[in-house]
C-alpha cells in the first residue's frame, strides 16, 4: 500500500489539455498502416471497367477471349443484391444501385465489370479489352432541367426525377405579410469531389478457419459497412468482419457502403484468394460520390430596422443517380429545410426542397454537409438586408442573432440550441480583424485592386441522435454509443470503440477522457477502433459526434469500471466500498491509497487474496451512452474574411481571416485548432476553387488534380482563431461537436467579402466557387452596361 498526495499525481493530460497526439509517432515515422500497405499472400488486384458514358442501355458486355475467368460481370455475382438506401420520409422514391451495372448506365464511371490479375496494371490491361455495347441516351445533367415536366428520366418507373420533395411552413404568410423590405436571391453552389489524401480501398479475404469474410476497407463506419455488406452478400453479420486500418482522411467520402466493397467481398469468398482494390484519383474524381451541389431561390422579408421577419425558400439538391448507403439521397435536402434559418430569429419560415436525380454520381454528406451551402445562402440574405436598410452588415446580424439570454432556444424549425453567446462570437471576430482599420483601407483602395470584408455566423448541430435520425428514417439511426473498457493485469487500460479515427486524433482525445475519469497515465491507455471484430457496435464517425458520443461512452465505461474497481480497492484498504473513491489512478480512503494497478494485479494474478463474491464481473465493462438530450449540441462560430480582388484579372487574395468559435468544453484545444484549420482550407476550396463541371453529355470535366483545383498550403491565409467555451448542458464534460465548423463558414464569408469589394462597381456574384473568370465576366458586363 502506497501513501501519496493524490493532487500531485494528477498530470495535465485530461480534458482541456493540448496533449500531443499519440498517433502521430507512427504517422511521422511513416509507420502508419493504410489500406494500400496491406499485403496478403496470393492476393490479386482488381480493376473495374467503368462506364464511359453517363446514360445508356447496356446491349452487351463481352469478356475478352482467354480472360473469361478473370472478368466478372453482374450475372457472375450470384446471389448478390443491389444497394438500396431508403428514407422513410413520405414520398421517397427508391433507387437500386447495382453492384455491377445490369441493363442501364446512370452515370459516368459506374462499374460494369471487374477484372482480376496479379497486378493492377495487368488488371487494367484486361479491362481495356472488355467490349461494351452501349446504346447511349441523352443525359440529364442540370438539376433544374431535371425537374421540368417532360424531362427525360434517370429512373423511368418514377415518372419524374425527384427522389423526394419536402415542404415545411412555420407561420410564413402571417409573418411575411406587410413586410416593407422584400429581397429575392438565386444562388448556386458547385458540385464538388471530396478529396481525402488517401482514396478508398479494399482488401478482402475469406478466412476458412473462422468461416468469415475479413474485409479491410478505408471507411469511417465499419459497423455500418458490415450491416450493408451482409445484406448485399446474403451473409449473416457474424460471417463478416470489417477492419478499418489507418484511414487517411474521410470528410464524409468514406461514410458509405461501396459497390466495390461488395464486389471484393464476393470475389474473395468465391475465388479462394484475397483481392484488393485501391481507388485511384481518376476513379475518385470521375466515378465516385460527389457533394454540395445546391440551388436556392430565396425571398426574405424584413423591416427597416433590419429585422428578418420571414424567409421563403425553394431549394434543390442535385443528388445524382443513386441514393447512397446509408445517408440516402435525401439527407442533404432534409438538412437544408431544417437548418436554413441558421442562428437567426424569425417569425415565419417556408421551405420546399427537391432532391433531384441526374446522370451524375450520387452524393454524400461532405464535412459540414448542407451547412456550407445553407450558411452561404443565409449570410447573403443578411448582407442584402444591410444593403436595403443601410445598416452595417455586422449590425444586421447582431440584431437578428439568437441572444444568450434566450438560451436554450428552440428555433423556428424546432432546433434546440443548447447554449452560447452568438453575438459575442461575432464581436470578437470583428475585433480580431480590426474591422474599422480594414474599412479605412477599403475606402482608400482607389486602384485596380479592391478590398472587401465578409462575415458569416452559423451554428452547427452535432452529435444528434436517435430522435433526429429516426425522423429521417434512413438505414442508420444512432442509438446508445458504446465503449468497452478493460483493465489489464499490469494496470493499463484498453478502450474499444466502434467509431473510427481518420485524422481527428481520437486515439488521443478518448485517452484524455479516460484519464480524466480514472487518472491512469495517458501512455497506458490504448484505444482500439475501426474493427467490428474487436469493438462494440457504433454507427461510426460522422456528424461531429465522436467527442460527444464516444467521449461520453468512454467516460461512462470508465465510471462503470470504477464501480468494479472500488470494492477490490476497498478490500485491499480494509474499508467499506462506500468509503473509497476512485480517481487519479488510485482507490483512496482518507489519506490512504491503493493504486488501480495494484487492484488489477490482485484481481487477475492473485485472486486468492480476494474473498469470494467480490467483483465477480471482472475488470471489463461495456457501457452505452446517450446525451441528456439527443437533439444535438450546437457549437457555433463567426468568421470574418478580408479579400482583395484584382479587377483586371479577377484574382482574389485572402488578406486576413478570423474565426471566433465556441465548441463548449474543448477536450484538446490543439486538436480543435487543427480541425478548424483543415476545415477552413476545405471551405476555401468551396468558396474559390473546387467545382466538378459536367458537359451536356454528363461527362465530368476533370480527371486529375491538375484539372480539379484544390487549395493548397500556398492558398491558406494566416488565421486568427479565438475560442469561447460555453459548456453544453447536455454532455458529460460540456463538450460540443466541432469537427465540421471550419468548412462551413468560409464560402459565406469569402463570397460576401468579394461582393463587398465589387458592389461599388455594380457587380454581385451569386454562385460558388468564385473563379477569376466569373469575376472578370461580371466586371466586363458591368462596364459595358455603364458605358
Amino acid at each position: 500500500m502506497i501513501q501519496v498526495q493524490a493532487d500531485l499525481v494528477r498530470e495535465k493530460s485530461g480534458v482541456g489539455a493540448s496533449v500531443l497526439r499519440k498517433e502521430d509517432d507512427r504517422y511521422m515515422r511513416g509507420q502508419g498502416e493504410f489500406i494500400a500497405d496491406i499485403k496478403r499472400p496470393a492476393m490479386q488486384e482488381l480493376a473495374f471497367v467503368r462506364s464511359p458514358v453517363a446514360h445508356a442501355f447496356i446491349r452487351g458486355v463481352k469478356k475478352p477471349a482467354g480472360y473469361e475467368d478473370r472478368v466478372f460481370i453482374a450475372a457472375d455475382l450470384v446471389g448478390v443484391s443491389p444497394i438500396t438506401a431508403i428514407s422513410a420520409l413520405p414520398g421517397f422514391k427508391r433507387s437500386s444501385q447495382p453492384i455491377l451495372a445490369t441493363d442501364k448506365i446512370c452515370h459516368v464511371g459506374e462499374p460494369i465489370a471487374v477484372c482480376v490479375a496479379q497486378t493492377r496494371a495487368e488488371a487494367e490491361d484486361i479491362a481495356a479489352l472488355v467490349e461494351l455495347d452501349l446504346e447511349e441516351l441523352p443525359a440529364i445533367v442540370d438539376m433544374r432541367a431535371a425537374l421540368q415536366p417532360g424531362s427525360l428520366l434517370v429512373h423511368e418507373p418514377w415518372g419524374d426525377n425527384v427522389f423526394l420533395e419536402t415542404s415545411v411552413d412555420h407561420g410564413f404568410a402571417a409573418a411575411a405579410s406587410g413586410a416593407p423590405i422584400i429581397i429575392s436571391k438565386h444562388l448556386r453552389t458547385a458540385r464538388q469531389c471530396m478529396s481525402p489524401m488517401e482514396g478508398r480501398g479494399v482488401v478482402a479475404m475469406w478466412e476458412p478457419r473462422l468461416e468469415q469474410l475479413v474485409l479491410h476497407t478505408s471507411t469511417q463506419m465499419p459497423h455500418i459497412v458490415r450491416s450493408g455488406l451482409s445484406e448485399c452478400l446474403g451473409l449473416p453479420e457474424d460471417m463478416v468482419r470489417i477492419i478499418a486500418p489507418d484511414v487517411g482522411g474521410g470528410f464524409g467520402y468514406k461514410g458509405i457502403l461501396l459497390g466495390e466493397e461488395v464486389c471484393a467481398g464476393y470475389l474473395a469468398r468465391h475465388l479462394g484468394h484475397p483481392v484488393r482494390w485501391i481507388e485511384d484519383r481518376r476513379e475518385q474524381l470521375t466515378g465516385n460520390a460527389n457533394c454540395r451541389e445546391h440551388d436556392y431561390e430565396l425571398t426574405a422579408y424584413a423591416d427597416h430596422d433590419g429585422m428578418l421577419l420571414a424567409l421563403d425558400a425553394r431549394a434543390i439538391v442535385d443528388a445524382g443517380a443513386y441514393s447512397l448507403y446509408p445517408f440516402s439521397a435525401c439527407l442533404e435536402a432534409a438538412q437544408i429545410a431544417s437548418i436554413l434559418p441558421g442562428p437567426y430569429r424569425m417569425n415565419g419560415y417556408r421551405c420546399i426542397t427537391w432532391s433531384a436525380a441526374t446522370n451524375k454520381p450520387g452524393i454524400l454528406p461532405y464535412r459540414g454537409v448542407a451547412r456550407a451551402g445553407v450558411c452561404y445562402a443565409m449570410e447573403v440574405i443578411m448582407d442584402a438586408i444591410a444593403q436595403e436598410t443601410g445598416l452595417p452588415p455586422e449590425e444586421v446580424r447582431l440584431r437578428n442573432l439568437v441572444l444568450p439570454s434566450m438560451m436554450p432556444f428552440d428555433n423556428i424549425t424546432n432546433k434546440h440550441f443548447d447554449s452560447g453567446d452568438y453575438p459575442e462570437a461575432l464581436r470578437r471576430a470583428l475585433n480580431a480583424i480590426d474591422m474599422p482599420a480594414w474599412r479605412a483601407r477599403q475606402a482608400a483602395a482607389t486602384g485596380t485592386v479592391k478590398i472587401g470584408i465578409g462575415l458569416a455566423v452559423f451554428c452547427e448541430q452535432g452529435a444528434h441522435g436517435t430522435s433526429v435520425y429516426a425522423g429521417w428514417g434512413i438505414p442508420m439511426v444512432p442509438g446508445f454509443e458504446q465503449a468497452s473498457a478493460r483493465l489489464t493485469a499490469d494496470g493499463g487500460l484498453e478502450l474499444r470503440v466502434g467509431i473510427q479515427s481518420h485524422g481527428q486524433g481520437l486515439e488521443t482525445t478518448l485517452a484524455q477522457v479516460a484519464h480524466e475519469s480514472l487518472g491512469l497515465p495517458i501512455e497506458r491507455i490504448k484505444i482500439t477502433h475501426g474493427d467490428t471484430g474487436l469493438t462494440p457496435y457504433s454507427t461510426g464517425t460522422w456528424g461531429s459526434r465522436c467527442m460527444v458520443m464516444a467521449g461520453g461512452a468512454v467516460a461512462t465505461a470508465c465510471q462503470d469500471l470504477a464501480a468494479r474497481i472500488a470494492p477490490i480497492g476497498a478490500h485491499l484498504l480494509q474499508v467499506a466500498t462506500d468509503d473509497v473513491t476512485v480517481a487519479h489512478g488510485y482507490v483512496s480512503t482518507g489519506s490512504r491509497h491503493v493504486s488501480i494497478a495494484e487492484v488489477a494485479r490482485t484481481w487477475y494474478r492473485r485472486p486468492q487474496d480476494l474473498p469470494d463474491g467480490i467483483a465477480h464481473g471482472g475488470l471489463e465493462v461495456t457501457a452505452g451512452y446517450k446525451a441528456k438530450r439527443d437533439s444535438g449540441t450546437f457549437s457555433y462560430a463567426a468568421h470574418a474574411a478580408v479579400v482583395s480582388v484584382d479587377t483586371e484579372t479577377g484574382d482574389i487574395a485572402l488578406l486576413d481571416y478570423a474565426i471566433c468559435e465556441d465548441g463548449g468544453t474543448l477536450v484538446n484545444p490543439m486538436i480543435v485548432d487543427g480541425q478548424l484549420i483543415g476545415g477552413i482550407a476545405q471551405g476555401i476550396g468551396t468558396a474559390l476553387y473546387e467545382a466538378m463541371r459536367f458537359d451536356d453529355n454528363g461527362q465530368p470535366s476533370a480527371s486529375t488534380l491538375a484539372d480539379y483545383t484544390l487549395p493548397g498550403a500556398t492558398e491558406m491565409p494566416r488565421l486568427r482563431i479565438e475560442h469561447m467555451a460555453t459548456p453544453s448542458p447536455y454532455t458529460v464534460f460540456g463538450q460540443k461537436g466541432i469537427g465540421e465548423g471550419g468548412a462551413i463558414g468560409p464560402p459565406a464569408a469569402i463570397a460576401n467579402a468579394v461582393n463587398d469589394a465589387l458592389r461599388p462597381l455594380g457587380v454581385e456574384l451569386s454562385a460558388l466557387p468564385i473563379t477569376p473568370h466569373m469575376v472578370m465576366s461580371a466586371l466586363l458586363r458591368a462596364r459595358r452596361d455603364t458605358a
Binding site: 496494371a121 483586371e648 479577377g650 474559390l688 493548397g712 492558398e715 477569376p772 473568370h773
Partner: protein
C-alpha cells in the same frame, strides 16, 4: 491509372537514342508530362527510351553572345543558377515559377519544349527571347529558330529519330528589356493567361501563350503597348471576351515588368 505495357531502356549516347527513336521508341526525359499521360493511358508507346542520363544533353556552355543549355537540364538546375543566365536573372526567375519544386527537380527545359504544351512557361518565354533549338540526328544536326520549331499545340517539327539536343538563348544586350507575366490562381496550376515581352533597340516581340494553340508571336509595330490589342483581337476572334481581357492584362503587366 497504370500505364499500358511498354519496354524501357536508357540510351547511353545521343546516337543510340536517335536509333531507338527512329525504330519507334519514344523519348522520356524528366517524365513530368509523359508520366501522367502514360498512367492515364493517353499515351501508350510500346517502347520508351530514357535520354535523361545522356551527358551530351546535360551540359551547359556560354559565349559572349549566348548561352546554350542542354535539353535535359532541369528547371531546378536553372532555378539554382547551375546554368548560366542571359542577364537580369531572367532564366532562374522563370524556372523558379514553373509548377512545384518536385516537378522542377525532374522536369527538363528540353522536355518542356518538345512536349510543346501551349501553357508551358518555357515555350512562351523562349519564343520571346528569340531562342534556337539545336537538334541532333544521325543524318545531321539542325539549328531551328524556336518560332519555327512549334507546329501546333503539342507538336514540333522534330523528325522521327531526331532529338532536341540543346537550347541556345541570346544574351540580353544592355538596351534589352524583358517582362513576363502569367495569370494563375495558385502555384503549379496551368496558367489561364500568359505573356512575355522582349524589347531591344532593333527588336520588339510580344508572345502570348496559354491560348490552347501555339503561342501568338507579335513583332514590330504590333508588339507595342498600343499595337498589341488590335493585333491580338483580330487574331483571336474565337476566344471569349473574358479570356481576351485576361490575356491583354497579362500583356499589359508584362510590358510594365519590362519597363520596371
Amino acid at each position: 491509372m497504370k500505364p499500358a505495357p511498354f519496354t524501357w531502356s536508357a540510351a547511353p549516347t545521343l546516337d543510340a537514342a536517335c536509333g531507338t527513336m527512329r525504330a519507334g521508341g519514344r523519348a522520356i526525359a524528366g517524365g513530368q508530362s509523359l508520366g501522367p499521360m502514360l498512367n492515364l493511358r493517353i499515351a501508350q508507346p510500346d517502347r520508351l527510351v530514357s535520354i535523361a542520363r545522356i551527358s551530351a544533353l546535360c551540359g551547359v556552355s556560354e559565349t559572349a553572345d549566348d548561352v546554350t543549355i542542354g535539353a535535359c537540364v532541369t528547371h531546378a538546375q536553372i532555378e539554382d543558377g547551375q546554368a548560366p543566365d542571359i542577364g537580369q536573372d531572367i532564366l532562374p526567375r522563370v524556372a523558379a515559377n514553373i509548377a512545384y519544386r518536385a516537378v522542377r527537380n525532374r522536369g527538363t527545359i528540353g522536355g518542356s519544349l518538345c512536349h510543346a504544351d501551349p501553357a508551358a512557361d518555357w515555350v512562351t518565354v523562349l519564343l520571346a527571347l528569340g531562342a534556337q533549338a539545336l537538334t541532333h540526328a544521325p543524318s545531321g544536326s539542325r539549328i531551328i529558330a524556336l518560332d519555327g520549331f512549334f507546329t501546333g499545340a503539342f507538336r514540333t517539327n522534330l523528325t522521327p529519330g531526331e532529338v532536341l539536343h540543346a537550347i541556345r538563348i541570346p544574351r540580353l544586350t544592355p538596351d534589352a528589356r524583358f517582362g513576363y507575366y502569367k495569370i494563375c490562381r495558385k502555384p503549379g496550376e496551368f496558367a489561364h493567361a500568359m505573356a512575355a515581352v522582349f524589347i531591344s533597340k532593333n527588336i520588339a516581340r510580344v508572345v502570348i501563350g496559354a491560348l490552347g494553340t501555339i503561342p501568338l508571336v507579335l513583332m514590330g509595330a504590333e508588339a507595342t503597348p498600343d499595337g498589341v490589342e488590335p493585333a491580338f483581337r483580330s487574331r483571336t476572334t474565337m476566344l471569349d471576351e473574358v479570356t481576351q481581357h485576361m490575356q491583354l492584362t497579362a500583356v499589359k503587366r508584362a510590358f510594365a515588368r519590362a519597363a520596371a
